[in-house]
Symmetry: C2
C-alpha cells in the first residue's frame, strides 16, 4: 500500500468503526457490497474490503458466507448509545445528526445570573421535597409562556415539570397503563428511544403511516394513546394537516383516549404559516409536552407536560415512582429566565441564527448537489434530503463520514421496516457551532457532489 | 359551646384533618375511641366526637357502626402526598417529621457562585445529551469524595448520576428485573415509597426483621437484591452489626445477588465509632447509593450510584428508558462545590449544628418527658422516642399536632403489619430552621409531658 491509500483506508475504516460504535449503523444492518460501496465512494474496492476485514476482526462487523457483511449484534445496553468525555469513542469532526441544537450557544452567563437572582429570592420551601408537579413559580410562568408562544391552554395546576420528553413519555405511558390502556400508537417514523420507553412500560405498540399531511389518524382504533409530532413531524418535517388535527382530537374524545403532542421544536418556525399547538383544539384530550432541549440545550434536562385535569392524579402517581419532583434549582432559574424576558429573547436570537443557517444549507445544496431534493425545513432544526435513485442511504452516510461529517439515514428513524420510498438522509442545521458551520456544509455538499448528486 | 372549647375543637379538628390530608394518618387507619383519645389528650370527649363527626361529613373519616372511626380510603394517587405552595393543604407550624434536613440552611450564595464558575469553564459538550452515566467531571470528583468521606471504592466509570435515591432505586430494580431477578428484600421498617417503587417495577417484595443489630440477613434466600440502610437504619437508627455486614456480602457473592446500600445520611455521625460504607467489603456485590438530599437539600434532586462493573451496562439500559442522563448544570455545580472544598465545609458546619440540636432535643426530653426513651441518634438527623406503655403512637401524633408539631408514628414507617413492640414516634431534629427549633422542641416536650411522659 502506498501512503495515500493507507490514509484513505484508515479514514474510511475509522469512519465506519465510529458509525457502528455510535449506533449510526445499527446492529443487523447489511452493508453494501465492497464493489458497490467502492464505486459509490470513489475509492479502491480493495480499500473497502480491507477495512471490512479489519472491523470483522475487531468484532464490529460479521461476514456471513454468501450473504455479505453485516453490523454485528451487540448485547443490548452493553454500551451506552451516546457517550462523551474521555472514555467515549472517537466522534466525527462535524455532527449534523438531528436532535441537538447548537449547544455552544447555551447562554451561560444569562443562566448563571438568573440562577443567582432566583436563588436569592426563593422561599426556603423551594429546597424541600416540594410539590410533585414541580414548583409553582415555574408552572405559573410556563402557563403564560405557553399561551403566548404556542397557544396552549394551561392552568398551572395541570402542568407537570419533568426531565424532558423521555421521562415525560415514560410517566404518561405508566399512567395510561395504570388506567387500563394496553396499546400506544406512534408515528411510523420517529426516535427509536420513544418506542423503547413505551415498550419498557409494558404497552403494545402500533405504528401509523406518515405522508405529506403528517401522520394518518383514521385507524387508531382502540389505542389508549397516540403520540404525534403535529407541528413538525420528526424526521419528515411536515405539519399535521388541519383536518387530521381535528379528526385526532375527535377520536380521542370519542374513545376516551389521549393524544400526546410532542412539541419538541415548536418554537422554531420560519415561514408565515403559524402552527399553534394541537392541544388548543382539545385540552381535555391532549397531553402537551414541551422542553428546553432545543431552545436552550438538552443537557438541562427540563421539560413539561400540560395534562387534562382528569389525568393529573394518575400522571403524578406514575411520576412518584419514577423519582418524584424535578430538581428545584433549574426550575427556579428557568422561571426567572421566562419572567425576565431573557428566555424569549434567547429564542428570538436563535431563530434568526437557525433561519440563516437553513438558508445557507439550502443554497449550498442547490448549487453543489442539485440532484438532492430538500424538504421538511419550514420549521425546526433539520432537513430531509431525498437522494437520487442511484444512491442508498448507507452509502451517503458512510461517504459523509469519510469526510468527517455525521448525518443520519432516514431508515435510522423508522420503527420496524421502512416502507418503500425514495432514499433520504436527515441533516441538522443547528449543530455544529457557528465557526464550524460553513465548513461542515461545504464538506457535506462536496461528499454529495462526489456521489453524483 | 363556650369560646375556649370552640378553639380547642377547631385546633384539634384542623390538626386531625391535616394529619389525614398529608398522609400522616393513612387510609384504613383505625382511630382511637373518642373516650380513649379524650383521656389521652386531656380534652372533652364531646370535643373529640364533634371533630370526628365533622371530618366524617367532609369525607376524610368513615364511621362504621360497631367498629369505630377510620381514615377513609381515597383513590390512590388522587392527591399528591406532599404539596407545597398556594394550593397545598395547611401544614403544621413545626415540621419534625423525618426525611428533610434544615432546608433554610441551603447555601444559596455558595451554590450560585459555584454554578457561575462551573458554567464559565464547562466545555460546550457538557450541554449536550451527554454521557448516560452523568458528566465525567462530577463522577471524578465523587470518586475521590466518596473514598475519603465514606470509604467507598469507586472508579468514575462505575458511577451513575441520578435524581436521588427514588429514581436510583427504580433504575436498579428495573436493571435487576431485566437480568432475571424476581424478588427484592427490604427492611421491615423504612419508607413506604421505596416499596411502591420496587412493586411498580414488577418485583415481588419480602421484608426482613430489624433489631438492635440492624436488619437480619440470614434468610435472604433467593432474593435478587436486598436493600439496606447499613450506616443508620431508617427509622430505628441502629448501624448494621459487623458480622451481619460480612454475612450479607458473603450471601450476595454466593447467590450472585446484589446488596443495595442506601447511605441516605452517612455524612452525619456524632459518636466516635466510624461506620464506613458497606460497599468497601464487596465492591463487586454492593450498589452504593448516596445523595445530596440530606447534606444540601432534597429539592436539588441529585444522587449517585456506585455500581459493580458487571452491572453498569444494565443499569444504564434501565436509566435510558427512565429519562437518560441527569441535568448537566446541577452536576457541573456540585462538581465545582466538591472541587473547591465548599461541599466538605458545608457538611462540617451542618454536622456541628445538628450535633447541637440533637443534644438540645435529648436534654429537653430527659428533663420534660423522662418517661420517653431516646434511641437511634448516634448518627443522622432523627431520633426514635419509645413511649411509655399507656400511650398509643396515634395519640401522641395527634396530641403533638394539636400543639402545631408534626411528628411521625413508628407504625407509619413499617411495611405491612408492625410486629409487637413498644410504641414509638420518630422525631427529626434537622428541621425546622434555627430560629424556630427551640420553640418546636419545647412544644413537643410540653405535649409529651401533658400525656404523662
Amino acid at each position: 500500500l502506498e501512503v495515500g491509500a493507507t490514509r484513505v483506508r484508515a479514514g474510511f475504516e475509522n469512519a465506519l468503526r465510529t458509525a457502528v460504535q455510535t449506533g449510526r449503523l445499527r446492529p443487523q444492518t447489511r452493508l453494501p457490497s465492497t464493489r458497490a460501496l467502492a464505486v459509490d465512494l470513489g475509492i479502491a474496492r480493495n480499500t473497502v474490503a480491507e477495512a471490512y476485514a479489519q472491523l470483522v476482526a475487531e468484532g464490529w462487523l460479521t461476514a456471513r458466507t454468501g450473504s455479505g457483511t453485516w453490523v454485528s449484534d451487540r448485547v443490548p445496553g452493553a454500551r451506552p448509545a451516546r457517550r462523551a468525555g474521555p472514555t467515549g469513542p472517537p466522534r466525527l469532526r462535524y455532527d449534523l445528526t438531528p436532535g441537538t441544537p447548537d449547544i455552544s450557544s447555551f447562554p451561560r452567563t444569562v443562566w448563571a445570573a438568573a440562577a443567582r437572582r432566583a436563588l436569592a429570592h426563593a422561599p426556603s420551601e423551594a429546597f424541600g421535597y416540594g410539590d410533585e408537579r414541580g414548583g409553582s413559580t415555574l408552572r405559573q410562568e410556563l402557563a403564560s409562556y405557553l399561551a403566548r408562544a404556542r397557544g396552549v391552554r394551561a392552568d398551572p395546576v395541570n402542568i407537570v415539570i419533568c426531565a424532558g420528553f423521555i421521562e415525560g413519555l415514560g410517566i404518561i405511558t405508566r399512567a395510561l397503563k395504570n388506567r387500563g390502556a394496553t396499546v400506544v400508537t406512534i408515528e411510523e417514523a420517529g426516535h427509536r428511544l420513544h418506542r423503547d420507553v413505551i415498550a419498557d412500560a409494558g404497552m403494545r405498540i402500533r405504528t401509523t403511516p406518515v405522508d405529506a399531511d403528517g401522520a394518518h389518524v383514521d385507524r387508531l382504533g382502540d389505542s389508549g394513546a397516540v403520540v404525534l409530532t403535529p407541528a413538525h413531524q420528526f424526521p419528515y418535517g411536515v405539519p399535521l394537516a388541519p383536518e387530521r388535527r381535528r379528526a385526532v382530537v375527535r377520536w380521542a374524545a370519542e374513545q376516551a383516549a389521549v393524544v400526546v403532542e410532542d412539541d419538541y421544536d415548536g418554537e422554531f418556525r420560519y415561514d408565515r404559516q403559524a402552527i399553534g399547538a394541537l392541544q388548543t383544539l382539545g385540552p381535555d384530550h391532549v397531553i402537551y409536552a414541551g422542553t428546553v432541549s432545543k431552545t436552550l440545550a438538552p443537557g438541562v434536562r427540563l421539560g413539561w407536560l400540560v395534562v387534562p385535569p382528569r389525568l393529573v392524579a394518575d400522571v403524578l402517581a406514575a411520576k412518584r415512582v419514577c423519582g418524584g419532583p424535578h430538581g428545584a434549582i433549574d426550575q427556579l432559574t428557568l422561571a426567572e429566565l421566562i419572567r425576565s424576558g431573557a428566555y424569549d429573547r434567547h429564542i428570538r436570537q436563535r431563530r434568526l441564527v437557525y433561519r440563516r443557517r437553513r438558508e445557507h444549507l439550502a443554497t449550498s445544496l442547490r448549487r453543489r448537489a442539485p440532484a438532492v431534493r430538500i424538504s421538511g425545513m419550514a420549521a425546526g432544526l433539520h432537513a430531509v434530503l431525498t437522494l437520487p435513485a442511484h444512491l442508498t442511504e448507507q452509502a451517503v452516510v458512510v461517504k459523509a463520514a469519510t469526510a468527517g461529517v455525521a448525518i443520519a439515514a432516514l431508515g435510522d428513524h423508522h420503527h420496524g421496516r421502512r416502507r418503500p420510498g425514495p432514499a433520504g438522509v436527515v441533516v441538522s442545521y443547528a449543530t455544529p457551532p457557528d465557526h464550524d458551520y460553513s465548513r461542515a456544509i461545504a464538506r457535506l455538499c462536496a461528499a454529495l457532489a462526489d456521489l453524483g448528486c
